[in-house]
Amino acid sequence: MISIPYAWRNNRSALAGSFCNACKLTWYPSSKACPACRNSTNPVELSGKGTIVSITTVHESSMPFMLAIIKLDEGPQVTAQIVDTPAAAIGSKVVACLRRMQSDGAQGIIQYGIKFRGV
């Protein structure tokens, strides 16, 4: 089991990013300090809209799934699964959606997180 990042647990329905006033850059995943200049950042809610930069189908689990790197409209890039969009390709427009990530057995906790689907 891989734990879900805390930022996703705090903010399930939207992508939580951060904005650096010094660099004028938006970052994802959110970070209290700017990865470029280490100044403190402000939290910012990202639109969840973006474009696929690269996409693959991963066969290393029991069910193959699509994994992509998405450039969000605000600038930062994110690695995330693509769902409900079999024709997704480089250049496709996508939007974030809340999806089941994994569960701890039939009786265990279900973890939710952000995936992306075609617009």
């Binding site: 891989i2 930069v53 690269s54 693959t56 790197i69 930062p76 890039q77 699964q81 480089i90 997180g113």
Partner: protein, 346 residues
Amino acid sequence: MCGVVTMNIPIIQTSLIKFGQLWDKNISDLIYKVVEKLDLTDVDAAFVANVYHHATGEELHIDNTACINEEGASGAMALRQAAASIMSGQCKCAIVLGVEKATDLTGTHLNNISSLPTEEKSQGATVSSQFALMAQKYMHEYGIKPADLASVASLNHKNAMQNPYAQFASELSAEAILQSPMVADPIHTLECAPHSDGAAAVVMCHPDSASSYKVQGHFTASLIATDYENTAQRASLTSLDATKKCAKQISMKISKAEVYDIYPISELLAVEDLGFAKKGEAWGFIKKNKDMINASGGLKACGHAVAATGVRQAIDVLSRLKASEHGLTHSLAGTGRLSVVNIFKK
């Protein structure tokens, strides 16, 4: 800033076990086997590279021992640390030992401990999936086909046919590779470097005491650079900044190179990022320079005993250098969060 160490460290002994699925050997057996032909009388420091088992190198009985884990770059990093230690006067003669027992672990376990940030792992990302994303973008930008990628792996198998230490010294056609199961599109099973068991060791001394030994070659420079661990945060998917930053510091003509072909795409990116070929032209360059790039067969055909690989690459590049020629080894940690380039001359 890229970390540069320049020196002229004599390499006085080398030892290599043929990598493979060595079911009858554990970590200690591999260490005993690789050092049995070495004379450790003058050795006063050990640098032990191991990723999966926290090997301590206790088999060597050397008090001044440092353990190093930088994933695929562990062996190269251990060489660098040993050289820095010799130059600082911390030791006079050092053994660098890379050892790995990978076949004890399952693929799931290997994926869980691999160097990917939680944000990517929780999406199901693996080292293979991240290199597949780089390969997809590379194919899209430069018109390279899956068959070209398979041909990179196929060529490494062909090169390995001359190498008695290669795990797979046999031909493997691009067609056969393309028919093997998909790992992460476009990477097929037979394009992945195998997780191997194995060990490799070199002994180095201070330049002042070189005349006491039979010198096999020299370790002349070591370059490292880092990048974001998160693939999505990097500046580009079709080049690795960590390698490019190292390449900027290379001042000599390189005649032989052992590069990190954990997948065909990582070999293509390395050849371009090291400055041997222009963007998109790596495969053409490799075909024309078979003796220069991964003449040993690379990780793909020699096997990838993770922490031993950087040391194995050094032994292979040294064995192929002619007098006054320079050669390099290139290795990565994770999906490119760290690149180590070591330079050797005869």
